[in-house]
């Protein structure tokens, strides 16, 4: 196996609240991403997906305490000084945000937004930078790039602006893209287009990508491996090919079961009972136990470890039994 591009080891983020208490947002995340690989990070709101991404770029809220390691290409990101951090953010990683409208300075033209990094951080001439920006806009499927460059963010649609966002990431030519729910704010047809563009360009340029979404199917479609997160921990890490058929964690099974199906008509969708909890709300045992149909008394008290199962990793103490029961049922 080649050396990983990005490696998270025991990444833990605690945040001190105003009343002086500590809340754990991420609890011992271990992940690695090979160069050119696409990894999906799936989970409900508050499961720590975005926090993981923010930790990778050291974009954490005030008062957050980080422990563990974030290694990019062998370098420890958490220990970088200001200069190294800026170089790393500028050249190595690119972020695609969920809501492009909020993440672009509304008072500057799209052209100015796109070329700023090139001109300021790379010393590219303005004319040359604009030409490159126009070329990349064409690449993400935007017609008449010259006109778009002169427009303000509020003059274009959300889908268009998200493509502009992707273009800005591509211009920096990073080796790692972090896409944080890049299509959640868009409607479904545009969503397909944007994901397609992201996927195609990633393959063409051999960039690594962490794709964060709450849409399991979307993650399975664009990623080689998928990590399912719950309450600040990874509960299942599997290759996308096998996750569908051989999901093992009860939470993943719940997610898969809650999707509408094309073949079966008019059935009520199965929901996971209860509501998602954050890492700091969970008890001493398995965080999913209160909502889990398979939970036993032991699940409530003893936290399960992330253990190898099938071709991946699963965090469930009853995984063998559940798997056996399921195979029996289908056989």
């Amino acid at each position: 196996m080649t050396a990983p591009l990005l490696e998270l080891a025991g990444l833990t983020v605690d945040i001190t609240t105003e009343d002086g208490g500590t809340r754990t947002l991420l609890d011992g995340i271990d992940l690695s991403l090979a160069p050119g690989e696409a990894l999906g990070l799936v989970g409900e709101s508050g499961s720590g997906k975005s926090m993981t991404m923010r930790a990778v770029t050291r974009l954490l809220p005030r008062g957050a305490a980080v422990s563990g390691a974030v290694r990019y290409d062998g370098a420890e990101v958490l220990a970088m000084d200001a200069g190294a951090l800026r170089r790393y953010r500028d050249r190595e990683v690119g972020l695609v945000f969920q809501d492009p409208r909020a993440h672009v300075n509304p008072t500057r033209r799209i052209g100015a937004f796109l070329i700023e990094a090139l001109v300021r951080n790379r010393g590219v001439g303005k004319r040359e930078a604009l030409a490159r920006a126009a070329a990349v806009l064409a690449e993400v499927g935007i017609d008449d790039p010259q006109r778009r460059l002169r427009q303000y963010p509020h003059e274009v649609s959300g889908g268009m602006l998200q493509r502009v966002m992707i273009a800005s990431v591509l211009l920096a030519e990073p080796r790692l893209i972090l896409a944080d729910e890049p299509t959640t704010a868009l409607d479904v047809t545009i969503q397909r287009e944007v994901v397609g563009i992201l996927d195609r360009l990633r393959r063409e340029r051999g960039m690594g990508m962490v794709f964060i979404t709450h849409d399991l199917d979307l993650a399975l479609a664009v990623c080689g491996r998928v990590a399912v997160m719950y309450a600040g921990r990874i509960v299942e890490l599997r290759s996308a090919d096998t996750l569908h058929e051989r999901a093992a964690h009860p939470y993943t099974l719940g997610l898969l079961g809650s999707r509408p199906s094309i073949d079966e008509r008019a059935q009520r969708l199965t929901a996971i009972p209860g509501r998602p909890v954050s890492a700091f709300e969970s008890g001493p045992g398995c965080a999913f136990a209160p909502r889990c149909g398979f939970a036993t008394a032991q699940c409530e008290t003893t936290p399960p470890a992330l253990a190898e199962f099938d071709d991946g990793l699963v965090r469930c103490s009853r995984v063998e039994e559940i798997h056996a029961a399921r195979t029996e049922a289908t056989a």
């Binding site: 800026r86 170089r87 953010r89 990683v93």
Partner: protein
């Protein structure tokens, strides 16, 4: 031609009717000050005892003062010192206040705490008192008065800048810029400051008015601009003329001070996005009310997230 028209339209929508009127007045005053030697009918310091307390006439449009100096010319030349002083005060305060405010808003935490408390402390000192104290220490003159007022005006400007910048600081686009690899200076100056320019300019215009008033007060007390330099504040203090019944001598510069301050306040408020109060707005047919409300709901650029 087209460009001028566009500029006019833009100014019109930003300032509104009262703002345009105020702006026009300020423009006239400014032009008079700059072109004083060209537009003033006479030398402001040329005395002629024959014309002592002459009433308005063809020779002296507004009359002449106790030693026969042309009043209109003194008003026009007086605009120079009367505007230069406040301009310096506001300029220096902004120069010192903006970096401090940006620093406080960017780093937050204890940095913000210390800077904000220092602002509060200076804010609590009356500017005039500080100026009088400085003059007592360094002697009367425009320079000590301007220096003292500049310091006193820092919080007035910087507190607003800090608040507006803080609002920008927590906007997602600032985070996005940070992960693009831009440094503090770039983000705060080229993005945050740029986006709050309307707020800064508006507040600066209001501060300019106050500073003009303060300097006029100091000149009136004989602590800032010294006779015979023409200055509105000094002219208002010409109690001799008042006692002898030549009220125009005192009234004219007084009215100019009031009008200039008023105009600055109006323009400042419009630029920072404040809508004119209802009684200044034209009465409109009932159908226009809806459109009006939509307009009121609009947030000014500076306040947009």
């Amino acid at each position: 031609m087209n460009r001028t028209k566009k500029l006019w339209q833009r100014a019109n929508t930003t300032l509104g009717r009262s703002g345009m009127l105020a702006g026009g007045f300020l423009l006239v005053v400014l032009l008079a000050a700059v072109l004083a030697p060209l537009v003033a009918p006479a030398d402001p310091n040329q005395s002629s005892l024959l014309d002592s307390y002459a009433g308005p006439s063809g020779a002296h449009l507004l009359g002449a003062d106790g030693i026969g100096r042309d009043l209109l010319s003194r008003l026009i030349f007086g605009a120079r010192t009367s505007l230069l002083g406040p301009a310096l005060v506001v300029g220096v305060s902004l120069l010192l206040g903006i970096p401090l405010a940006l620093l406080a808003s960017w780093y937050g935490g204890w940095v913000d705490g210390v800077i904000a408390r220092v602002f509060d402390l200076v804010y609590a000192l009356p500017g005039l008192l500080l100026a009088v104290l400085t003059v007592a220490l360094f002697g009367p003159g425009l320079t000590p008065a301007v220096v003292a007022l500049s310091i006193a005006y820092i919080p007035f400007l910087a507190r607003i800048v800090r608040a507006a910048a803080r609002q920008q600081r927590v906007s997602p686009y600032v985070d996005a810029l940070a992960v693009q690899g831009f440094g503090v200076l770039r983000i705060t100056v080229r993005h945050i400051l740029r986006n709050i320019v309307p707020v800064v300019v508006g507040q600066a215009a209001i501060a300019f008015g106050y500073a003009l008033l303060d300097l006029a007060s100091l000149s009136y007390l004989g602590l800032a601009v010294q006779a015979p330099t023409p200055d509105w504040g000094v002219m208002v203090s010409d109690s001799d003329a008042l006692l002898k019944g030549y009220w125009l001598q005192v009234l004219a510069p007084g009215v100019l001070i009031v009008l200039t301050v008023l105009a600055l306040t109006v323009v400042g408020a419009r630029i920072s996005g404040e809508k004119p109060p209802g009684y200044l707005r034209r009465r409109r047919p009932a159908g226009a009310a809806l459109k009006d409300r939509a307009e009121n709901d609009r947030t000014p650029v500076g306040a947009a997230a």
